[in-house]
Point group: C3
Chain length 669, copies 3
């Protein structure tokens, strides 16, 4: 969050929950606009995003402007009591831009141009693109800053473009000068003494284009950071233009959760509030878990403040190979999951299903078949419920447990040639998150530079890069009584993705009381024996299946919680615990199966003094979340199930949800 | 068929069946030509295609001509009593063309040139290519129009090239002007208000080159139509040149059955008769079924008139990953299948197996090992049999059952982002075709614009586009007593692939008496219960496994034939029937397993008053086809089997065939 | 071997075994160099390769030279008693070369440039690259030829680049002129009468760039030969420069075993001794078998003279998807396998594990965790053992069994459109090699042009091309009493990959007494029955699963050893034997399962009068090799096992090794 967010800047409207959708009136005849607005009212929609893909409508030729239609629809929406999130249309430039200025088109790593005819065809480093985007942003800001319908500014759409062209190379060089000061600094950061890659002039430096073999990991990492920064600067440029005309309404953009292409901690800090897109996959019964983790990333990026689910689907999407629709009820359950995890509103892409274009098979609030449909009925019922839940808006949802995550670690930790491509950052994140989810525990996914003081338990499921300052903070956190749990292949590298000539996990070895000499991806499963009988599991010894590490305990207060039972590491530690100051630091040098990991995570929870909000492990498919004095119980499964609370049992039908007041036990819905 | 075909133009030679092969004398020393001709005679070959890949031999440098060798071989063939199908060599330009005129080379969607060194390296929109192709066509037509050997003109080879270059872009714009009249028309047809794709000048319009995300489906569809039209115009240009010199002999080209890249209904209408290439896959025991369907497409394109199997293999091909050879006997069975389904001849690629080049491992009439081989012996035996079957030539083979298919529906129905990529047009076509095949019923695969009056039963297994006029014709067809059977995800879109803001299946809802609001690709199988006990199946309820639809019956005379038995659609209709006028229209809103689909198709057959030509379901692997008063019984399997006829039982050895006179019960072979 | 090798040129240092590593001092601060050298001494390292990736350090800008650091480290190494293999750094040009001279960068078949930022980014046909590579080679040779540390010259690194650009096209044309004399010769060799590919001017000829369909197999084969020759000429150019300054020390380069991209028989003949890189895959329990075969290729390329394992890993590599580390002991076992098969030394990539760059996760002699590690301890123990084994250095290890292999056959035999892509050259090689390996029999993998007189048994597992002269030599070999065993799909083509218009296997039909008319890749397994009861197998009849051939015996002394038991070939020969002169020639027209093939290979071994060095089949995972009067027994498995020798039983622990004197039965280690 930037300073605007700290009370100085506009924030999200807080008179109840937002219930909204993207509305693209340019796809429909004007005659139908009043009917659309009537349907919005019927559905309980109180906010629509307008203009996301309107550039070609607003500026059909360079410098020729056409705002009449937008004036008209904004007036109509305002008259209808629908607030507007006004989008800058810069995510999808019109064909004339690419035709007239080919340098605005992105170029891939092979050197091939990506053309217009779809969307997103812009080069984030193109001066000409930036100029055109700034111009239309200014036109919109100037004209609509004072329009009474406009409540919120929506910059672009799902930023994420990348280009490898020559203009990008120039911008990359400037970025590298800022970061590394000198060419020697770049050479040092990238380790160009390896493979004779030393640069003798700035002009030689290029984006990591297609090459004969493995590319330089430092160059790759910096290019990802650079691309992310370029995208952030696109956001900032448009935001600053808007700010010159409107200091009252918040400015944000829609992120895509754990999107690999951009560092959202950086982007979030530039927005007035966090807005995110999440599309549950109804064909994957575990998809809601990834949804919960994603919402908890939003919660983390917001530092507990409310955020907005800016896009979601009412039923099926169109872009998966096999697009299963949401089951009846799932629309509501998915929406409540976001609200329970801190969202102050839920919006859909889109209000009316398109009859043409690439997304004509994507569901909407109003299907092609009209309002007399299951989807519209469920959406409208949810609209009513959101209105009833309005009091929850603005309530904070901070957690006592943090998962540390950052994009640089993700990028560097999954670089081309590493010990095993099977060990993946998102898999580990989910594995360490699930035990918390299973017990209704609140979590924030936060950046390693965050202030850790407000947390009692910190997890690093797989954080490849841990900088010295971060390690120091973690060490202090434990010394001050914190519980720390570190997963395998963490703290491997410094900020330039360089390894240390030392035993791992480098800067964390001391606080963990353990260090290792060899990462050992496994050829076959290896059983692990836990020393404590309390760590009982679902029958049989747990097995590591893809990863092990050759570790040695060296701390005075370090104990081995589990050891490998056979193979080359037989008898050597797999899981350790170190008492450090007032706290404790655990290390797991293997990939553990779910039950073993759950018992370890829970013992850390217990040691942190965090009470479980529900007495027993939740049934599969059930999510339990506390927010604003309410307990949300959500069934994401197709069978009826029951949840035992302290003094009552709640039965949830398939895709059913119940919201219980934690003071009165009153069931809201 | 164009007007030539309607009695005004030359047609296929009809003095018996054609038995032929591609003959490429330029690969062999002149000394061996007489031996080749002697082998042709020995094999019963009466037609050879000459010159398909001879451009570089005929015009070794631009404008330098060398016809001496062709003169000589045509004279020799004529003297030997072998008729010639003379090919224009325009499918494979010589290297000098691409070197001298790089614009004649195709460019892929990424912008990469496809080079010479293989074949097919031409850009169908290149003026320079067209000029060179026209020039050599004229030279050939002028010189050989009166040559006594020449019986037939064979234009190019397996047309199917595509290019995304700038010259193609110009041609595409001209084509779009013709189709959509104005730029506004293009914008409307493609729905460019979606994603800001509106074109402001014609010059902006491009082929659908590689883009960052899903491309515009209207642009993709029109580009496929355009490319197909360009290829048709290539054919037409060469045909018209030939026609100026020869009005006596027919002109055609060899198609590739259900080839995705070109609309063969359009191409067929420009030829004097339909010629097709079909290569059974001996490694796939069901391949013959696809062969039968392909032959019935030829029958449909010919409107029941004879067509020609222009290319097939005597044994293995070389272009599959694992090329299984034909089993002994299969060569004959495959050939008879084509004849039974309306072919007036069977030709092979090629007469002599090449000793070099990319197809040196492709089988031929004369293998590398010579004539004292299984393959040659089988081919020669088939030659004799074809001569004996000569009386069948010219007999019509019209069917009373039609399957509606068109290329635009295929292209649009399998566009990038749709409900499920698992639902495929060809899969559905085969699924609805197999029950007919299993009972020896004759079928034509025809265009939806065809006159339906001559059919009693019409099937639409998966026809994505149904235009209003087509729907009206189908409605009249039913009203007049026709039986109609429509499969899932049909009549989804109009001719521009736009959806309607209405319940589906749009223009067919009324005649079907049913409509739906949501397509529901399945995450897990759902059982279906048939209401009529007569629809018994192979034990257990049938299940839909990938597709369902949320339907509602609304016709006064509509009944539910089957309903979903569990899940979200429990109790809702899966299969319906509507009595409409004198006929009946069935709709299937699911993918049905084979047995259930067979019983539905057969009940439609019965309702259409079509008698079964064989009393019982045929054994697996057995094909039964009527033509010209004969019943062809063909065993495509490796085990002996028997077929019960009305008054006799015919035993078929492995890969055995029997032709029975339907009047005399005389067994021909 | 060229004439230098035959006593006229320098050869490998022979005062004991080499124990070495790549050392890249430019990656480390100068302060640490003395420590590095101390660690080398501690590990028993006696040779380091320096400079492989040092171009940018030596010539940081064009023409600016910096040798001071190299002077210093060579002096330090010499003072420390470590000999130096001095590398020319030409495998990885610095970025300035590609920036300043883009024509030095390779271009792929699509026309895309491969950029710097990795390594190997050079175009082997670029005059500018060759000029720059020659210049730095000369600088190094001039400066260091007399340096006392320099013992050996190491040209480039793992040569294998390929480019399709226009400068390469020019070079390809010149190469074709040399090979085929005239353009008519090229047209003839490539069979350009097929598909109209005839070239009318030299300028039309191009590398086989991306084309619309299957490319000309002759062009593909010649381009592979040309590329290989270009790479050989790069080696030769640098070698000849070095030779002008140093006639004392040998010059070589590191090959990559069965590397597909280059003909190593040609390259080996230009080196002073064979040096090879081999990386066992610890995740694949059979990887050591491929290692043994690779070492026997080195033995073959060396004609039994010692060779050098130039690169191997101490533990895991970084470039596989999942990099399993070597088990404790495996480092030693792998090294001894190479020594036993003729290596006079074992080197590692690299001495110190990199802290940055693309290979930072690749193991080394000194891990990042330092010398107090398992890996360093094992490496140092091996160092001592290698010193003790020093007397073996220089001993020859010629074998009596040869496997014929050549790159042209590999390239042509796996060309694009062939009977089956499932029949692979390396699979067949390994299948025929394993029975020999299982019985400790010594083998050389040699070129078909080799003098066969020194062998008693020759195997052609799958040799696609057999030239007439080679067939004649093989026929004489058998007539003179040799045993010949030929596998399926051998002797298919001539040197231009053209087939003969004849029964196969063409030029070998006479000596084999058998010929065939059709290759028949199988759709389902076919049982095979052996006529001799001695050929017993592991229960049940063996089955061919992917390949069969339609054969006929025609020799007067030919017998059928096995026949197909069912299917189209039922009763026809699958395996034959022909007595020819004093010898015998067997042919196998199928892919046989391991047991059946083993019994056939062993009966040929027996017929050749070759004694088995171990009395019984070796346990799985155990390798037994004789060299220099010693029997190496190596256990590549994770379980303890025993080997029965004539008069004793040796027990091998997991990853254990024993070296037994064959005279004294003394166990060395």
């Amino acid at each position: 969050m930037n300073k605007h967010h700290l009370g100085l800047a506009p924030s999200m409207p807080s008179d109840g929950l937002i219930f909204g959708a993207d509305y693209n009136p340019e796809q429909w005849p004007r005659e139908s606009w009043p009917d659309d607005i009537a349907l919005m009212q019927r559905a309980g929609i109180n906010l629509v995003t307008v203009g996301v893909f309107s550039w070609a409508q607003l500026e059909p030729e360079e410098g020729r402007w056409n705002f009449a239609w937008l004036d008209e629809i904004l007036d109509l929406l305002h008259a209808g009591g629908i607030r507007v999130s006004l989008a800058t249309p810069t995510a999808s430039p019109p064909p004339w831009l690419g035709k007239k200025y080919p340098q605005t088109l992105p170029v891939d790593a092979d050197g091939n141009t990506l053309w217009y005819g779809s969307r997103n065809q812009f080069n984030p480093s193109s001066a000409k693109y930036r100029e055109a985007a700034a111009r239309i942003t200014e036109k919109l800001a100037e004209r609509y800053a004072k329009h009474p319908a406009v409540t919120l500014w929506h910059v672009g759409n799902e930023l994420g473009q990348i280009s490898y062209d020559d203009e990008t190379a120039c911008a990359f060089r400037r970025w590298l000068m800022d970061r590394h000061v000198s060419l020697a600094g770049v050479n040092r950061a990238w380790g160009t003494t390896f493979w004779s890659q030393q640069y003798s002039t700035w002009e030689e430096i290029l984006p990591p284009r297609t090459a004969p073999y493995i590319r330089n990991p430092g160059q790759e990492l910096d290019f990802k950071r650079f691309t992310s920064d370029q995208l952030v600067s696109l956001f900032r440029a448009e935001r600053d233009i808007i700010r010159r005309y409107d200091t009252e309404h918040p400015v944000t953009t829609n992120m895509m959760g754990f999107f690999h292409g951009m560092d959202y901690f950086d982007l979030a800090s530039e927005t007035d509030f966090v807005a995110n897109d999440w599309y549950t996959d109804p064909g994957d019964p575990d998809s809601w878990q990834m949804g919960a983790l994603t919402h908890d990333l939003c919660r983390g990026m917001s530092q507990g403040a409310p955020w907005l689910l800016m896009e979601s689907a009412t039923s099926a999407v169109n872009w998966r190979p096999h697009n299963v629709a949401k089951e009846p009820g799932a629309l509501r359950v998915d929406a409540l999951s976001a609200v329970a995890r801190g969202a102050d509103g839920v919006c859909f892409f889109q209000f009316r299903q398109s009859a043409f274009g690439a997304e004509r098979f994507h569901s909407a609030v109003v299907p092609l078949a009209g309002a007399e449909t299951r989807v519209f009925r469920e959406a409208a019922a949810l609209g009513s419920e959101m209105a009833q839940l309005g009091a929850i808006a603005g309530t904070s949802s901070q957690a006592r447990i943090a998962i540390l995550f950052d994009w640089s670690s993700w990028w560097a930790g999954e670089s081309e040639a590493r010990p095993s491509q099977r060990l993946k950052v998102m898999d580990q994140l989910l594995a360490y998150y699930r035990p918390l989810l299973r017990h209704g525990l609140s979590v924030e996914v936060v950046h390693p530079n965050s202030d850790l003081a407000r947390f009692d338990l910190v997890l690093l499921p797989h954080l490849f890069i841990v900088e010295q300052e971060q390690a120091t903070a973690l060490t202090h956190f434990v010394a001050d009584g914190g519980q720390l749990l570190v997963g395998p292949f963490s703290a491997v590298a410094d900020r330039e993705a360089k390894l240390a000539t030392a035993r791992f996990p480098r800067v964390l070895s001391e606080v963990l009381g353990v260090s290792g000499e060899e990462w050992l991806p496994l050829a076959a499963p290896v059983p692990i024996i836990f020393t404590s009988p309390s760590a009982s599991h679902d029958g049989g010894d747990p097995q590591a299946t893809l990863w092990s590490e050759d570790l040695e305990v060296h701390g005075a207060n370090t104990t081995t919680l589990a050891y490998f039972a056979s193979g080359r590491l037989s008898g050597k530690p797999a899981v350790t615990s170190n008492v450090w100051g007032l706290g404790e630091a655990r290390y797991i040098g293997a990939d553990l199966p779910a039950a073993a990991l759950e018992s370890l995570v829970l013992s850390a929870v217990q040691a942190a003094g965090i009470e479980l909000p529900v007495p027993a492990r939740l049934p599969d498919d059930v999510e339990a979340v506390e927010r604003g004095g309410r307990l949300f119980l959500l069934n994401h499964g197709s069978t009826s199930t029951s949840v035992e609370l302290a003094d009552t049992t709640i039965t949830l039908p398939p895709y059913g949800a119940t919201v219980v007041s934690q003071k009165t036990n009153r069931v809201y819905s």
